[in-house]
Symmetry: C2
Subunit: 213 residues, 2 copies
């Protein structure tokens, strides 16, 4: 078909994923060393190029799976980053996604193959290009959505204590939360319910475990 598009330039389109997990009671992000030029060896979000026959979402899912082994993960598009100079070598428009995964599900074996590593989201090293900006935008959006959706279910193990859930809240909101107010607010939520299980690992007394439903 004759389109009249041909006078316009075409750009590489990449997907970068800010993959978050709640590990060791901290919000962490998966990064790795860029395997190719430019900025080869610099730290980078997980990313890759969109293929000819792939939707943007499909590309994001493929890339997430390559690095985590996971499918059917909570993942949302964040924004497009496309400044002319963002990649010094070529014009690349990057579509950024963020994903929230359950740390237990992540296959640590994979990190040997991929060189990926978890780093503290509150203490990120310098990443290549505009990747630090991407992460801060992602954190902001997660924080905003957190208040209105049951986002925690994606980051926590099946059964969790209220203390752990509170630490997750505090990690995401970036501020301490009052324990009694927090527990009352949880009690109101229909999508979190107590189980009969007790976690004896993290305290002498043992903590009641909850689950999302």
């Amino acid at each position: 078909m004759v389109t009249g598009y041909s006078e316009y330039p075409r750009f590489y389109v990449s997907v970068d994923c800010a993959i978050f997990a709640f590990k060791e009671k901290r919000l962490q992000i998966l990064i790795h060393q860029r395997p190719y030029q430019p900025a080869q060896g610099q730290l980078s979000l997980i990313g890759g190029f969109v293929q000819k026959d792939e939707n943007l979402d499909t590309a994001a899912e493929r890339i997430l799976c390559e690095f985590t082994g996971l499918n059917h993960v909570y993942m949302q598009q964040l924004a497009a980053f496309g400044d002319v100079e963002r990649d010094p070598a070529e014009r690349v428009v990057s579509i950024v996604y963020y994903a929230l995964i359950n740390a237990e599900d992540y296959d640590e074996e994979l990190s040997h193959q991929t060189g990926a590593q978890w780093v503290d989201a509150d203490n990120l090293p310098a990443l290549c290009f505009d990747h630090n900006q991407m992460v801060s935008r992602a954190r902001q959006v997660i924080c905003e959505n957190f208040k209105t959706t049951a986002v925690g279910s994606n980051l926590l193990p099946r059964y969790f204590s209220l203390s752990l859930l509170q630490k997750l809240y505090e990690s995401i909101l970036g501020q301490p939360v009052d324990k009694r107010n927090f527990r009352r607010s949880i009690a109101d939520k229909a999508y979190i319910q107590a189980t009969s299980l007790i976690d004896k690992a993290s305290s002498r007394r043992g903590a009641k475990l909850y689950e999302f439903c």
Copy 2:
């Protein structure tokens, strides 16, 4: 520079703008007939292709200006739409922006040149490709942001009555608002203040005019 990118495909990258104004006490959107194939003549958001030396935001501003004559307008990136089949002719990834403009500032003359027209946002005709989806996403986001920001200042004339402001709220929220509660909530807002002007045009009694400050 050798990048290793060359094996990957490159795509056209377009910008589509959902340009909103509050005209005749209704939220309206600027559309036009697509000037080129495919879908030539079908109704479409205002859009164009990103140039080699343009940031995405810059492209959006250029396109907005071409169709409205306006610069320095409230405009935000919404999302990237990039499904393989969204444009049946070529692979085009579209970065969607929404803009809020003051109807008084829009140059109606331009619409003769561009063929652009305003249509009711609540009663959109069928647009080409995924443009209807783009608009509904934009409306949703505007509605969410509306509660937390002084977005109204972009859509209203310099001086406005509280009735008009209320109609704007109702148009954006998509539901009626209680007049007394509304007026109290406005009275609390530091960024809206009464002037000594009276609008005698829209009622016999006359309405006090307000402004953003």
